[in-house]
Amino acid sequence: MGIIRSALTSRVVRSLTSPNSIDDYLQQVHPMLAAENVRARVVEVRRETGEASTVVMRTNGVWKGFLPGQHVQFGVEVDGTRRIRVFSVSSARPAKGRSRTFSVSVKAHPDGYVSQFLHKELTPGTIVYLSQAEGEFVLPREVPSSLLLVSGGSGVTPVMSMLRTLRATGHSGDVTFLHYARSRDDEMFTDELDEIAGSTSMRVVRVYTRQPTPDAELQGRFHVDHLKHLGIDPVDTLTYVCGPAGLIATVRDTYGELGAAEQLRQEYFKVPSVDVDAADATGTLVFDTTLVEAPNTGATILEQAEAAGLQPDFGCRMGVCNTCAVKKNSGAVRHVVSGEISADTDETIKICVQVPVGDVNIAL
């Protein structure tokens, strides 16, 4: 299939189908048939908790596979509109060869249109539109002998993929999985985690912050004492953390204080909500192409553009897919995740994760 695919995407074929691509024709035959576009068919939708679901999919041959910890752009069509969000892969990486089956796990947010749809309405057989797996939050080729995986809430998904892969490959090093959930009912993969805890050498520690179990080893939110209690020395433990911004900030500060920042890999599972009352909600946001301007409300530029009646392109809305990237003509913007402020003129920015600081002029 590889030879056929590279022939179909070659310049010769392209010159015969121009201005279309070969996929524009193949998809008319069957939606899964493609040389370049990753598509998948939903095999199963499994309820994990009252609010979270796992979607198992089988892709077409374009899928190149994934590394544990990566995410994928997931597009599903609802009422004629394709909605794209980014979800972490939660399944184990197959031991060898390329498998076309994998899963993502998603917690339904109260106002998350796509996640609610996935949880309540998605049925097996539906075709979904994917990207290749992407992201740097992955295990190294050689997993070190000491590994700590920390997650909070639905940030468990990429870490679960790592845990499952380590288990499937029979990894023999020290692995500690430290997970924070509100309660046992609110926790995804509960049965499997129980089973891993009981049947492997991997250490699985779960902390229920709102409804702690009486005999719990640890209590409350993440604290440096939790590491001490578990006997983990951050300086020589490769650590992955994924979860809400608060958890990541605490872990990052702790590792920074202990001089172990280099050991930490982090991933946000959603963009931190913007503090709308922040002092930088001043000035005017000018959309230069459409000649519209609006007072800066302190929300992201994408949200402000939509509020002003514009329809900019967007994909993941969390700074991953680059679909919303446009040129900023002038002004300073702050990245909602890193807090980094950038004031270069004529730079291209992802408007879904940038908040204007004072007057900003955008080529929209």
């Binding site: 015969l16 189908t17 008319q28 004629g80 459409t290």
Partner: protein, 433 residues
């Protein structure tokens, strides 16, 4: 949230939608005066025009609120039919030894190009299906099977033509800088050949559209920068290379495989079939576009009359500046529903399949406000267009209508000086205030 236009002086109306490839409808502003536009005032009062604008806005909003799955299904069905026609057409022209299949192949390929250019390309590039968020029908990404590069076509069509519709000196689509189709266009000697030139344009229409998008005239008048002009030239050359390679080189080369079975002439037959299919499309698109804008009863406007127009005036200008073509449902699909040219000009960004339903409201409102609603069969509109070309090709007796008469030159000079004087006066008042 208050949204204001960026100009220091406020426009009477705000832009409707503001996706990057469809700036219409923007209003024309006269920076020197607040005097409202006079467009439509001979038909109704300024207040009635405002009311008229509100009523049409409501029609548009009602359709926008209803857009969904059925519109997505429709455009995908058209795309499926287009791809099928294209593939069957390409198979047909590979049977030059069997004339019925060969001829059917040419017709199907021509049909595929018509569907691609009209119902799919033109409408998708207006952003009518952007809400689907499907890369296949994304107005910003779509490229059509036509010599004209999508980006430059969108600027000239979506923005210039759809905003400044039928305003002399602003809408470059009045006669395409080639023909004299309206009495208010200046006459030049070349216009004696209006009809033969129109015929040649019809045969090579896609090349004409491509050339129009390079905007050589705008560059020579100093209205666009050299960098802009060179970018247009570069994109045009790239598109020409791709289109010519596909239709006139690559597919005939594939036809070499037929030589042992059919004879040396097989690649030439395939080349010829591609030429004919392109001409079929050229003739069709030319006819639809000319009959939508140039029949005798369509009005044109002067820039001064349209400055500071309100929404109703903008709509009024679109209605009087376009003409519909009546016909059956398949005919409308082949025109890309541009046979509903009036509705298209009122609402360029709603899916074109909605124009027939919108037309009922537009007709009702036109009746209510006693406005003309121009429509007619293709043959009738075509005769009217040909009559216009013949009539305005003749040299007018009024020297002010002749472009290079001493009278016209003096008038243009006076206007230029007046504009310069006003600009100086304005900058002086700003300095002193």
């Amino acid at each position: 949230m208050p949204i204001t236009l960026r100009w220091s002086k406020k426009a009477p109306i705000k832009p409707h939608s503001a996706s990057k490839h469809n700036a219409a409808p923007l209003t024309l502003i006269n920076p020197f005066t607040d005097k409202p536009a006079t467009v439509g005032l001979d038909h109704m009062t300024y207040e009635q025009l405002e009311e008229f604008g509100i009523e049409l806005d409501a029609v548009r909003q009602r359709v926008l609120d209803d857009i969904g799955q059925k519109d997505a299904d429709y455009i995908r069905r058209v795309i499926k039919a287009q791809r099928a026609a294209e593939i069957l057409g390409r198979i047909g022209i590979f049977m030059p030894f069997f004339p019925p299949a060969f001829i059917a192949g040419i017709v199907l390929l021509g049909l595929a190009k018509i569907l691609d250019n009209m119902e799919i390309g033109h409408n998708v590039m207006h952003g009518q299906y952007d809400w689907m968020n499907d890369p296949m029908v994304d107005g910003a990404r779509y490229e059509w099977d036509n010599m004209a590069d999508a980006k430059d076509w969108k600027h000239g069509h979506n923005y210039i033509h759809h905003t400044y519709t039928n305003i002399h000196g602003m809408d470059r689509d009045i006669g395409y800088n080639l023909l004299r189709i309206d009495p208010d266009q200046p006459w030049y000697g070349t216009h004696r050949f209006n009809l033969p030139m129109a015929f040649v344009l019809m045969m090579f229409f896609e090349w004409g559209v491509m050339y129009h998008g390079i905007e050589l005239d705008q560059y020579l008048q100093g209205k666009i920068s050299k960098a802009d002009f060179q970018g247009r030239k570069k994109r045009a050359m790239r598109k020409i290379r791709r289109q010519v390679t596909k239709d006139y080189i690559a597919w005939p080369l594939v036809g070499l495989a037929l030589v042992p079975f059919v004879g040396w002439w097989a690649p030439l037959a395939i080349l010829g079939a591609n030429v004919v299919a392109n001409i079929i499309r050229n003739i069709w698109t030319f006819l639809i576009i000319f009959c939508g804008h140039f029949p005798a009863d369509v009005a044109t406007f002067a820039e001064e009359d349209a400055q500071n127009e309100n929404r109703g005036q903008w709509y009024y200008r679109q209605i009087l500046g376009s003409a519909n073509i009546s016909g059956h449902a398949p005919f409308h699909v082949l025109t890309g529903n541009l046979s509903y040219q009036i509705e298209h000009h009122l609402f360029p960004d709603i899916p074109a399949r909605r124009y027939p339903e919108v037309a009922e409201d537009v007709k009702r409102l036109c009746k209510e406000y006693d406005l003309p609603y121009h429509t007619g069969r293709l043959s009738k509109q075509l005769v009217s267009v040909a009559g216009q070309l013949a009539k305005y090709g003749a040299k007018p007796s009024d020297p002010y209508k002749v472009g290079n008469s001493p009278e016209s030159k003096a008038l243009r000079r006076a206007k230029r000086e007046e504009a310069a004087r006003r600009a100086t006066a304005l900058s002086e008042t700003q300095l002193t205030s």
